[in-house]
């Protein structure tokens, strides 16, 4: 349902897209393969991918809502919606996706110094620097604040030692933003800081974790006497948990929205319409109808919360709902995609099987569904215990 466009922004954007979006980038693809993550060592899958990135970056459209000063287009919410609608209309791929865009950027815009914003944001917007996140640690599971990675003040630098796990694409990232413990005596939430590290620093190493999908989107990341300049802490020292909470909210929304993006390329229905039994098997059809109804409603809910955010109300704890509902829904959808595909979809060579298996992690990473339900029960519903 198109939004109002009193100012002619839509028409202008539509013309620009028509003129600038390469044909190859209009297939609506959003599989793991089709994504452009950027970074120093990025190998573009095609010339079109590079051209598309550069053109969008030049116009601020890799990060449309960021201020123009930091490489964005400064779009307010109404125009951002128009941007997404027009992209979807021609099936345009997003030019760039990254943890820099989704997570570090918002954190820096909120908590960073002017110098930090000027230094780190524009390379993210241009796709020149690829970031990963270092939150979880082995054995801690959902108890994020129990982290043990040490960060000691050595006068003119910080010294970091420890280990992170579930760091997304750490083996291909240029920089990492991480939670570390800067005060071991404080209560566990009070001694944490949010630090930025160059992955090329001496003492940083990574080991990919192979998932059931065959892919390795996560790593273990080790820090062994890593020296970090003093100006690479975001926000106040020992107040990193504030940044973390802010980011956890963003992460949840991102993973939830990820589910939407994955499905958005093609309605589940279209997949089923192609399937050999989608119409004749009432079980498959009924499950797909339910998933489509729920998917549309979850999509509207994401929009509603984005509107609220624009109005100054963050989703806050309700981001747990978006994360929970979005990832659980996406698991259902991919089950149906595989079922509709039948034995054709069971081959590694077919893109559906790895995507299906990958969704199983969505309801675990970034806080399990169970943790999300606990947050809702206690913080939103006020249930005891």
């Amino acid at each position: 349902m198109p939004h109002d466009d009193p100012s002619g922004f839509r028409a202008e954007l539509r013309d620009w897209l028509a003129a600038n979006c390469p044909e190859e980038m209009r297939d609506g693809a959003s599989t793991e393969d089709s994504i452009c993550w950027g970074g120093k060592n990025w190998e573009f899958s095609s010339d079109a991918q590079k051209i598309w990135l550069d053109r969008c970056a030049a116009r601020g459209l890799t990060v449309p809502t960021w201020p123009e000063a930091y490489g964005g287009a400064g779009l307010e919410r109404a125009r951002e919606k128009i941007f997404h609608e027009e992209m979807a209309r021609i099936g345009a791929r997003y030019p760039l996706q990254s943890f820099g865009i989704w997570m570090l950027g918002p954190a820096l815009l909120q908590f960073g110094t002017p110098e930090q914003k000027a230094r780190y944001l524009p390379p993210i917007a241009r796709g020149e620097v690829r970031w990963c996140q270092g939150y979880s640690e082995p054995g801690a599971g959902s108890d994020l604040a129990g982290l043990q990675t040490r960060c000691e003040d050595r006068g003119d630098h910080w010294l970091v030692n420890g280990q992170k796990i579930w760091t997304s694409y750490a083996d291909r990232a240029d920089w990492i933003f991480a939670l570390v413990r800067t005060d071991r005596d404080a209560p566990k939430h009070k001694g944490i800081s949010f630090v930025l590290m160059d992955m090329e620093s001496e003492g940083v190493s990574t080991r990919p974790i192979r998932l059931i999908s065959g892919a390795s989107p996560f790593c273990e990341t080790f820090f062994d006497d890593v020296r970090v300049p003093k100006d690479q802490v975001v926000g106040e020292v020992n107040r990193g948990w504030d940044v973390a909470k802010y980011l956890l909210t963003h992460e949840r929304e991102m993973i939830s929205a990820g589910g939407q993006v994955m499905g958005a390329g093609r309605a589940l229905g279209a997949v089923l319409a192609d399937s050999e039994t989608g119409q004749s098997d009432p079980v498959l059809r009924a499950d797909a109808m339910r998933a489509e109804v729920d998917g549309l409603a979850v999509g509207l809910t994401l929009e509603r919360y984005k509107d609220r955010a624009e109005a100054g109300q963050g989703a806050g704890d309700a981001s747990a709902m978006l994360k929970y509902a979005g990832t659980e829904l996406n698991k259902r959808r991919l089950e149906l995609v595989i079922a509709a595909g039948g034995t054709d979809a069971l081959d590694w060579a077919d893109g559906r099987a790895p995507t299906w298996l990958r969704t199983k992690g969505n309801s675990i990473e970034g806080g399990t569904s169970e943790v999300m339900l606990g947050i809702i029960a206690k913080r939103i519903l006020g249930l005891p215990g």
Binding site: M321, Y324, A325, K378
Partner: protein, 360 residues
Amino acid sequence: MLADAARGFLDGAAPLTHLRGLRDAGLTHDPALWKNMAAMGWAGILVPETTGGSDMGHAAAGVLAREMGRTLVSCPFLGTAVIAVTALRQVGDARAGSALAQIAAGERLYALALDESAKFNPQAVETRAEKHGNGFRLSGRKRFVVDGAMADRLLVVARTDGGLTLFDLPADRDGIARTPRAVIDSRDVADIRLDGAEATGADVLGKVDDAMAVLAPALRAGQAALAAEMSGLAAGAFAMTLGYLKERRQFSTPIGAFQALQHRAAHLWCEIEITASAILNAGRMLDADPANAAMAVSLAKARATATAQLAVQEGVQMHGGIGMTDAFDMGFFMKRARVAAEWLGDYGYHANIVAQARGF
């Protein structure tokens, strides 16, 4: 703001005990309550300002319906102020204008006599309107006519030579027999028999053979408002359940501390919150782009149906023994949820519309 005002009024004038009181007295409706609602402008919320209404739109009507769902208010809001008003607005002649003014004043009640089978299917009409002189004679049976016993006027859908035609008839016209039914939600529902009831050309709403031009928008408006009511019902049932989870102690612990119940309550809250988005969207679409609102309305009705069912089932189960007693109010929510699930199209009916709109 509208929601707060509505809630304030309903908490005083029509809390859940009001429905219980009506039921225990063998009544389905409280005329004085509707008069008060009309005085507050609720009866005319969709009526044009030129005919005495406030013309606030379907999103606003949804807000009222939602608040009514919270306390299970039994009143003619959906049938008269939403469905009949939307139908009459499609016509826009002087007669319709006068009917709208009467509705806004709380002086006229309508009921839609459409269904002829046990499942909603607006095309499956066998009631005939045979040509007779300059007019028609209507014969057939209508089932499950909501507000059918109390209505002053009936909107009757009948088959004419070239299609379906919508008639606006006084309910006491000769040849119309109404039989009230004892429905589980304690509201007014009647079966209606038409036995050669006469209608003139002036009784036709819209054009002969083209009932859907008038009826389809009215049905969509009714479905959206009913969905809004169900979302309020779900919220009301959930609020009651959540309160119980916090109060009730078992084995010396509040039962709301049990993690299994916490997770189920949290899941239910998510469903209610997600359904709220679909309800808001349906109201907005009906106001902004009614010709293309069909999918949004069906999405809202499908989601609201599923969510309300879950809310009342969890509500009864989590309340344990008292949840199944009549003395406790949860049963009222469950019964209304079941009726609202069926009326104007059930989950499968609306999910199918969504699926077709999405290409399968």
